[in-house]
Amino acid sequence: MRVKKDTLLAGLLISPSVIAIGVFVYGFIGWSLRVSLSKWQGLIPNYAWNGAATYASLTHDPRFHIDVRNTLIFTAFFLTGAILIGFFLAILLDQRIPGEAVFRSIYLFPMAISFIVTGVAWRWLMNPATGTRQSGLNLLFQKLGLGFLANNWHTTAPPWGIAFIAIPAVWQLSGFMMALFLAGVRGVSDDLREAARVDGASEFQVYRNVVLPLLRPVALSAIIILGHISLKVFDLIVAISGKDIRLDVPSIYMWTATFDANNFALGATIGMLLLAGVAFLVVPYLVYSLRGEPEV
């Protein structure tokens, strides 16, 4: 084989990144895995073998149960809200109303700010105080004559408190979903839609029978992206409710377990479980979407 100097140089150019990713992603995952299988609890590293004991302990761990429940509820509301709203906004904008670019910018701007900022703002909006100390949305509802809508928001008794946190999350991500769906909808060539119209379909039918089916890959992308964000949600909840155990999620548990309680084995275990959840979602998706890629 005639090896070319350029191919070697190419390899050299990319090797720092390859090494970096190799170590920082895959190496560290392996290391975390090792910690999760150890007995390390405390400031002194302790790699004594513990097998899957920590994993097993989580199944009886009430806090972890809360985490899982919260994640499920949050995910359900978050995904549904963001996708539905994003989709409707996309359809709306697809009508080519004047000022489309302005609307699009407005719906998208939340993506440019941090979850912390969002959390801080929404925390006050969702202020649960009632009566004379009312404020935030509760106060607004009162003033608009919608007083019956006032409620305890995220401080609602579990398990539904976490569902309210989905509101700022939806607010932040629905613009992104809108952009995704809009790109998808716009990707359906006009020819197809015109053919359907000539065939006698109403606008609604055009959407339902022509556009919608072609959006399945986009919808899939949306679900995967939101799903993995949902599993990892951390910033938002910390900003709104700090370490409130009623609104605990796996990422927060991992944080407190590792850095407050110094229970490294437990922290690593939760990290591994989070990874497994994300991998379950993302790996099939990557495989499926890369199948169409031609070889480099």
């Binding site: 150019l13 560290f28 796996p250 591994m272």
Partner: protein, 256 residues
């Protein structure tokens, strides 16, 4: 339609209102009687060092990760060798992992090389974990450069490095815009690494804000002003350079 439109704008306006006036909770929804900047000054005093930290950290991190992404994207899109595709896939997966799964080793590692707690450690972290997304964006962008232009350069006598410098880099401006803006925004807004990897005097603004907002003694209107200040840089970037931001966003989503 109008309702949806109201939602985001109104919330922003509300935040702004709260920040300007010295009103208190009960009259929260009323428009301010005048423009008062006291809250902003107070917030600025509280957050100034942290804003500085964020700048000192985000800009180099964005620049470095973009440069690496460009080099990687070039090699992966134009140089065929065994395993190029595999490397790309492995990078991609790195984009999705929950950072909790590498947090402990990361902390231990940074401690060992004495970068734990400092902004440099945070920069290193962001550069490394930014490699997947920057590589993805550049690779997809470079794939649109016709291969025969590069072959012409080869025949004209340019090797891999000179081709990069004279040809690829010269046409990379749009991609750099997208990547730099995306990286700057992501890194500025990031919280998890920020809170875990820095000492309080090195806190970026996201951590400081969270602290400010959680405190009992700080007035809520100052907190709101603080939130706006923290969001201002990325918001400005978004307002003026929004279309690049959107492209970065879409690149991550529609991977192909």
């Amino acid at each position: 339609m109008a309702l949806f439109y109201l939602l985001p704008v109104y919330v922003l306006v509300i935040t702004g209102l709260k920040s300007f006036a010295e009103v208190d909770l009960a009259t929260m929804w009323k428009l301010p009687s005048g423009l008062h900047f006291d809250n902003f000054i107070a917030a600025w005093d509280a957050l100034r060092p942290n804003l500085r930290n964020s700048v000192v950290m985000s800009v180099p991190a964005a620049l470095l990760s973009s440069l690496l992404g460009s080099l990687n994207g070039y090699v992966l899109s134009k140089w065929r060798f065994r395993g190029a595709n595999l490397i790309f896939v492995l990078f991609l997966f790195g984009m999705f992992i929950p950072y909790q799964s590498i947090l402990i080793p990361l902390v231990l590692f940074l401690q060992r090389i004495h970068l734990y707690g400092s902004l440099n450690g945070l920069v290193l972290t962001h550069v490394v974990y930014g490699i997947p997304i920057t590589t993805l964006i550049f690779r997809n962008y470079y794939a649109t450069i016709p291969t025969d232009v590069l072959e012409a350069a080869r025949i004209d006598g340019a090797g891999i490095l000179r081709t990069y410098w004279h040809i690829i880099l010269q046409v990379s401006a749009p991609a750099f815009a997208v990547v730099l803006i995306w990286q700057f925004t992501s890194i500025w807004n990031e919280f998890l690494f920020a809170i875990i990897l820095t000492r309080p005097d090195q806190w970026p603004v996201t951590v400081a804000l969270n602290n400010l907002a959680g405190s009992e003694i700080v007035q809520w209107n100052v907190q709101m002003a603080g939130a706006l200040l923290a969001a201002l840089p990325t918001l400005l970037v978004y307002i003026f350079l929004g279309r690049f931001f959107l492209r970065g966003l879409m690149a991550g989503a529609l991977k192909g």
